[in-house]
């Protein structure tokens, strides 16, 4: 087990191993409900709550959960937190709850959350599990906000429902429709990979060949 500091645990989830943009986990909500910034934020916060809550509980209970039934117990814990989040959203922000629809219940099967329990929370102390969950949760919120901002600005000409370009703007409706989700995700990933490949090429320039850098990038894109 590699020894990491708490700061590394946090930052790894936020950027270097961002769940959506690097690990490609949790893509279903990232494509489906990011048509406005408000929806993205609510989805991100709900997922953050579920992730942090279940990570703490799994880390606390790891000694009592037999290895054979660990996955079912994790799912049970996650499902409980999801239902709590679902009811709370319906009571506090009914409009957003209506817009997110079935995707709140589907947080249960978000493999990003189960992955953190299996890979991290079930093997570390509670504090570290919480830090890791916060990092991954923030990373998820950031990724969703990037998607939501691009889609709402282009597809509706507004940000958080505040009109940006005045009445003459012809909204690019496709961006709030499902295909727009795929287009936005594709271009965001293209941009990030282009940046990282450029950075790697710069680092390798003095003397060394660029083959290693390029092949890594190719693998990631594929």
């Amino acid at each position: 087990m590699k020894v990491t500091t708490s700061q590394q645990d946090f930052l790894r989830g936020v950027w270097r191993e961002n769940p959506v943009l690097i690990q490609m986990l949790g893509l279903c909500p990232a494509l489906a409900v990011t048509n406005t910034v408000a929806n993205s934020l609510a989805m991100g916060l709900a997922t953050f709550f579920v992730l942090a809550g279940s990570s703490v509980l799994v880390a606390l209970l790891k000694r009592f959960i037999p290895h054979e039934v660990r996955i079912s117990t994790y799912i049970l814990i996650i499902a409980t937190f999801v239902t709590v989040a679902d009811m709370t959203l319906e009571a506090v922000v009914p409009g957003i709850h209506k817009a997110l629809g079935a995707f709140i219940a589907l947080i249960v099967v978000n493999c990003m959350i189960l992955g953190r329990q299996e890979a991290f929370a079930s093997r570390r102390p509670v504090g570290r599990a919480l830090i890791d969950a916060c990092g991954t949760g923030f990373g998820f919120i950031i990724a969703l906000l990037i998607m939501g901002s691009v889609r709402e600005i282009l597809g509706n000409g507004s940000f958080l429902n505040i009109s940006l370009f005045g009445p003459d703007f012809e909204p690019w409706v496709i961006f709030v429709l499902p295909p727009g989700g795929f287009l936005t995700l594709g271009f965001v990933l293209l941009f990030l990979n282009w940046r990282s490949s450029r950075k790697r090429r710069k680092e390798l320039k003095p003397g060394a060949t660029t083959t290693t850098g390029e092949s890594t990038v190719e693998r990631k894109v594929a």
């Binding site: 048509n35 037999p66 049970l76 409980t80 239902t83 709590v84 009811m87």
Partner: protein, 236 residues
């Protein structure tokens, strides 16, 4: 490694001895009672927690729904001074529920009154399939002049950006104000503007637009006799 060994165990019928060999020494055998107990206890605790959260959030959720309906009634009846709830029975409207009927299985309409206590019209809820799922809406209706006073979509899952214009496109929604029932849907720009029954449908959302018109017409066909027969003065 542990995981592979375990999966293999399940594939071939293992004698107790073999199982013991395949299980690494670091992981002790766990009795099945303990497995069942763990899941059982976790399930009971989860259930208890959910009951608590449900009890805590239920009043707020019901309040939100009632508030949403209240706002909708105000909107489609153009802010009446007051309104009363009427129950739709088989052959008449009644201000009170008869014996043996519950609020849940009885349809309700809302009769609005203006400041001088004259009835201004009924607010009626209705729902039928649209393009994706059931579209539920509420509309105001004045039985004497047979006009629709306004329409508001309560619930719909129509396509964002296209079908959801039935609630977001104000040019479409505002046409229902003062439209003569039964409504008639026409393609945008092709109708005869002087016909008060005509509603211009939304380009790209024809099915959703037609659904809204159909929902209102079908509902009125059923309820019109009851709405016309109801006289607020003769109530007991």
């Amino acid at each position: 490694m542990t995981l592979t060994a375990r999966i293999d165990d399940h594939e071939r019928p293992a004698t107790p001895e073999q199982t013991r060999q395949a299980t690494p020494a670091s992981v002790p055998e766990v009795s099945s009672i303990r497995l069942v107990l763990t899941l059982g206890v976790a399930g009971v605790l989860a259930g208890l927690l959910l009951v608590l959260v449900f009890k805590a959030t239920e009043p707020a959720i019901l309040r939100n729904k009632a508030a949403a309906l209240e706002i909708a009634v105000q909107e489609v009846l153009k802010a009446p001074a007051r309104y009363e709830t009427l129950y739709v029975l088989d052959d008449r409207l009644a201000p009170e529920l008869p014996e043996g009927r519950t609020e849940r299985d009885t349809e309700r309409v809302f009769l609005g009154f203006d400041a001088e206590d004259h009835p201004v019209g009924f607010a009626v809820t209705a729902g039928e399939p649209g393009f994706q799922d059931i579209v539920r809406l509420i509309f105001g209706y004045q039985p004497e002049s047979r006009t629709v006073l306004g329409m508001k979509v309560l619930e719909s899952k129509e396509t964002p950006g296209l079908g959801d214009k039935i609630e977001k496109d104000l040019a479409f929604v505002s046409q229902f104000e003062g439209a003569r029932a039964p409504l008639l849907g026409v393609k945008a720009g092709q109708g005869n503007d002087s016909d008060p029954a005509e509603i211009d449908m939304i380009t790209g959302a024809t099915i959703s637009s037609k659904a809204v018109i159909r929902i209102i017409n079908n509902k009125l066909e059923v309820l019109r006799p009851l709405l016309e027969a109801y006289d607020p003065e003769t109530r007991p």
